[in-house]
């Protein structure tokens, strides 16, 4: 598979949006991103949208320029609470992406408390550096209700 070539500024917008989420627990508005990138607000808006399009699992609240999700995080509360080194400030985009949060916070403990859609009780997973340290209950499973091949990852249906 040949690598794609993505504009350098788009790659930077993608990474800085994710780093902001890692630090603050929410995505940056494009005006905040403009200050980080040293670009005009209009250019930052353009770059953030291009970065979302180039990545996977990144999108904006319907008909707005507010970031809703930037995988593996959600910028709005979900049923997937993420606690990093004891601080519950983040939300996972979905249950499975929550299991990928560990990769953007190396050497830190990630605790996922995800509310089961059937019984509303929690599934807890603790990870560090990609390794699963603990799961409660041990019978916990992950599931996607729509075919992954549908490519419909940015649609609500893929989360149900």
């Amino acid at each position: 598979m040949e690598p794609a070539v993505v504009e350098r500024d788009v790659k930077r917008a993608y990474r800085e949006t994710l780093l902001f989420l890692v630090e603050k627990g929410r995505a940056p508005h494009y005006t905040e991103l403009s200050r980080i990138l040293g670009e005009s607000a209009d250019r930052a808006l353009e770059l953030q949208h291009a970065a979302a399009k180039a990545g996977i699992g990144s999108w904006f609240l319907h008909e707005t320029d507010f970031v809703e999700c930037w995988a593996p995080f959600s910028s709005i509360p979900t049923n997937h609470l993420i606690t990093i080194d004891g601080d519950q400030r983040w939300y996972g985009q979905c249950g499975l992406e929550s299991l990928a949060v560990t990769w953007v916070v190396p050497d830190r403990e990630v605790r996922i408390d995800s509310f089961c859609l059937d019984c509303a009780e929690t599934v807890t997973v603790i990870q560090r550096n990609g390794e699963v340290v603990d799961i409660d209950p041990v019978e916990a499973v992950g599931h996607m209700n729509e075919p992954f091949s549908s490519g419909n990852w940015d649609d609500k249906a893929s989360f149900l």
């Binding site: 690598p3 930077r12 990545g55 995988a71 992406e97 953007v104 059937d118 499973v141 599931h143 209700n145």
Partner: protein, 73 residues
């Protein structure tokens, strides 16, 4: 894409799609699959250039877990 307390909780969930049964895997197996580059290398400066090859790693890991076919790609 959700975490459930057990397979039984998935299949009795009101919105469960029976065609999706093959996606039910232990959370630990999903964590292994989510270690593929497409999910684990997001902070690399050139990540966006490499999404497609990194996606291949995901499919390879799913195949190791016995998950292949039209549901996945």
């Amino acid at each position: 894409m959700n975490l459930f307390r057990s397979e039984e909780h998935v299949t009795r969930w009101s919105f469960y799609n029976p065609d999706s049964h093959q996606s039910i895997m232990p959370a630990k197996d999903w964590a292994y699959a989510l270690g593929a580059g497409v999910f684990s290398r997001r902070l690399e400066p050139d990540y966006l250039d490499n999404i497609e090859p990194y996606f291949e790693e995901f499919y390879e890991r799913l195949a190791e877990l016995g998950r292949a076919g039209g549901f996945w790609r």
